[in-house]
């Protein structure tokens, strides 16, 4: 009988019958796959034939001079910008170019913006509550109540991000670093498969940076994490694999040591004269 029932399960028969909200298929390794993606704004090619593959559970750093297309790349992955051409796949099953922002978010891609954006009028607890993966349609949201399971989950994330003592404070009074952690906490509440983190340590003190590095490395493995960062010291402290973007496409890829000894990379940074820190590295 149960065998018969198993035949009626659509998701077990043909891959193309699988409903869109099904889990991500990472059997083939990569969780994110960009192929030949291009986009231009008013004739300026912000992204030019970009190819990028992120493996499941990987922690990847992306560096590049200003205007290399790092933020545009994140916009494309999260559905904010549509590329002119190319393919963007999440796992082997989900074509991100056919989805809008909330769909992509509920699929398990979380994004942290460059400038910390938390809901300043709401408390730390409420910020995390809103971020939690749940039924996000109108009526379920209206009637949603607080359960011990939710409290426990929020408690866990508070602990991970070190914000337990600030649980009922409005997010608006947090320090810059605390806001960054709260925002990472909000991403964790979504139980994402892939975290996109844009310049997490901008404006942080040395100690805050160390804490952030610990936090991000502890996340990798459970989630895939993509970090865009300018601060080379920070990148060196967390990265296992680094991708260098330049003029909208990949210039080099490899370990930090490989990258910093790559003549092309050195030349780009020297020629563009943008990031002195890279030269130092």
């Amino acid at each position: 009988m149960s065998l018969l029932k198993s035949f009626s399960r659509r998701d077990k028969v043909f891959d193309f019958l699988v409903p869109a909200e099904s889990p991500v298929d990472v059997r083939h390794g990569p969780i994110l796959y960009l192929e030949d993606v291009s986009v231009s704004f008013d004739g300026f090619r912000a992204i030019d034939a970009l190819n990028l593959t992120i493996d499941d559970g990987e922690l990847r750093c992306i560096i590049g001079p200003n205007g290399a297309g790092k933020t545009t790349m994140m916009d494309i992955i999260t559905g904010k910008t549509r590329p002119d051409s190319g393919k963007v796949w999440f796992g082997a099953r989900h074509n991100l170019l056919t989805m809008n922002e909330p769909e992509i978010a509920s699929l398990g891609i979380g994004r942290k913006f460059q400038k910390p954006t938390v809901f300043e009028a709401l408390t730390v607890f409420e910020n995390l509550e809103l971020a939690m993966s749940a039924d996000k349609r109108i009526l379920p949201t209206l009637t949603a109540g607080m359960t011990p399971a939710i409290r426990e989950r929020i408690g866990e994330v508070l602990e991970t991000t070190g914000l337990t003592g600030l649980i009922h404070r409005p997010a608006g009074i947090l320090s810059h670093g605390q806001k960054q952690w709260l925002e990472i906490g909000m991403l964790l509440m979504q139980r994402p498969r892939l975290l996109l983190v844009d310049e997490p340590v901008a404006g942080m003190t040395e100690q805050e940076m160390e804490r952030t590095a610990e936090l991000l490395t502890s996340l990798a493995g459970k989630q895939s994490v993509v970090v865009v960062e300018h601060d080379m010291g920070f990148v060196r402290s967390i990265a296992r694999k680094v991708t260098v973007l330049h003029q909208g496409s990949v210039l080099a890829e490899g370990s930090m040591d490989q990258i910093s000894s790559d003549p092309k990379v050195v030349e780009v940074y020297l020629g563009a004269d943008v990031d002195e820190e890279v030269v130092r590295c």
Partner: protein, 376 residues
């Protein structure tokens, strides 16, 4: 249903309901039990005026719901108020029956005057109270649904949305001014006789309408409070402060905006429907952009994003308006403008902000003195 009960666990809601119901009882007692001529006697005129203020207060609550919590500054809520009013006006017109000036059994006077020989299709059914009362909610709700769907889907927000809501109410005003629309042109609908069998001119009916408006205000307040204290309310506040972030959390922001906008429009319609039988007329001037801006002023004065602030603002400004237009009619607009400037500069959180500050301070002082006593 847990979400509907949540407001009753809040102190501010209980205080609000307590004050409102005591006021209703007090006015009723002073009107009914105190003999005329006694200094404490509340006249039928005053009861009527207070009923009008309460309808305005409900309208202000509706505006505060979208402006205070969702960040949508609607400068066209007068349109929903007027539509609700017209739906009620159509019912009251049909109730006149053959007692009109021309004595036509079905057609309202202005249609006879225009030589129309039958009722337009959209006037059908308004002789039935249940249908008309349903339309009081559905007509503004439907307009808000279509308008909001188009606006929010295209992500029109901020000042652009304010401008098109203003255009919406202005366009409706021009349309309703036309005799061909079939809503009485610039005279509007008036000369009402009775409602649900009660004579609208009797003071008992007026008292009844006053109490009904008070109850509607209480219900509307509790509903809005239930919405803003739910998780949905927090999504609204999140949308107000960081719309893009909310979208990336997986909320379909435009649907939440639409939902709250429609609820607000329905409440505004209900306020209009309670207003019309009390003032005895509905005409296109209710669609005037200036009126919609005035509503926003009430809310700003009372204090945004508190709901009770909107009620305080509506009552204060309209009381001041009654006094001022009686004493110095020409000075009223200057007084209103001056008041608005003063409030924005000195009380950015409105009257409610001052109240909340005082209460917080008193509570803190109380805690301190309590601590001293404990130490002693």
């Amino acid at each position: 249903m847990q979400w509907l009960g949540r407001p009753f666990t809040e102190r501010s809601t209980l205080i609000f309901l307590g004050v409102l119901f005591s006021a209703l009882v007090l006015v009723t007692v002073l009107h009914v039990a105190v003999p005329q001529g006694h200094p404490l006697y509340v006249s039928a005129y005053t009861v009527n005026l207070l009923g009008k203020y309460l309808a305005y207060a409900l309208l202000a609550v509706a505006v505060d719901l979208v402006w205070g919590y969702l960040g949508i500054l609607s400068l066209g809520h007068g349109a929903f108020f007027a539509l609700g009013g017209y739906a009620m006006g159509m019912y009251l017109m049909r109730q006149i029956g053959d007692r009109g000036v021309y004595g036509h059994p079905v057609l309202p006077d202005f249609m006879v005057f225009l030589n129309w020989d039958s009722l337009p299709w959209y006037w059908q059914g308004f002789d039935m109270a249940w249908f008309a009362f349903l339309m009081v909610l559905l007509a503004p709700g439907l307009l808000a649904l279509v308008f909001g769907f188009l606006a929010f889907r295209s992500r029109v927000t901020g000042v652009y949305l304010s401008i098109i809501t203003q255009a919406l109410t202005f366009a409706l005003m021009l349309a309703f001014f036309r005799n061909e629309m079939g809503f009485g042109g610039n005279t509007g609908l008036t000369d009402f006789r009775d409602m649900l069998g009660f004579d609208l001119r009797s003071s008992d009916t007026r008292l009844g309408l006053f109490i009904a408006t008070g109850v509607a205000l209480a219900l509307g307040y509790v509903l809005c409070r239930a919405i803003v204290t739910s998780k949905l309310g927090r999504v609204c506040v999140a949308t107000r402060d960081a719309e893009a972030r909310t979208r990336f959390l997986g909320y379909r922001v435009e649907r939440f905006q639409l939902f709250v906008f429609v609820v607000s429009a329905m409440l505004a319609g209900l306020a209009g429907a309670l207003y019309v039988p009390q003032v005895g007329i509905i005409n296109p001037s209710e669609f005037a952009p200036l009126f919609s801006i005035e509503i926003v002023l009430w809310v700003a004065l009372g204090g945004r994003a508190t709901l009770y602030g909107a009620v305080i603002g509506a009552l204060l400004v309209n009381y001041a308006k009654t006094v001022f237009t009686g004493v110095m009619p020409d000075a009223w607009l200057f007084a209103l403008g001056g008041l608005f400037v003063l409030v924005t500069v000195f009380l950015p959180k409105g009257v409610a902000g001052v109240l909340a500050y005082r209460i917080r301070r008193r509570r803190r002082d109380g805690d301190l003195s309590g601590g001293k006593e404990a130490m002693a």
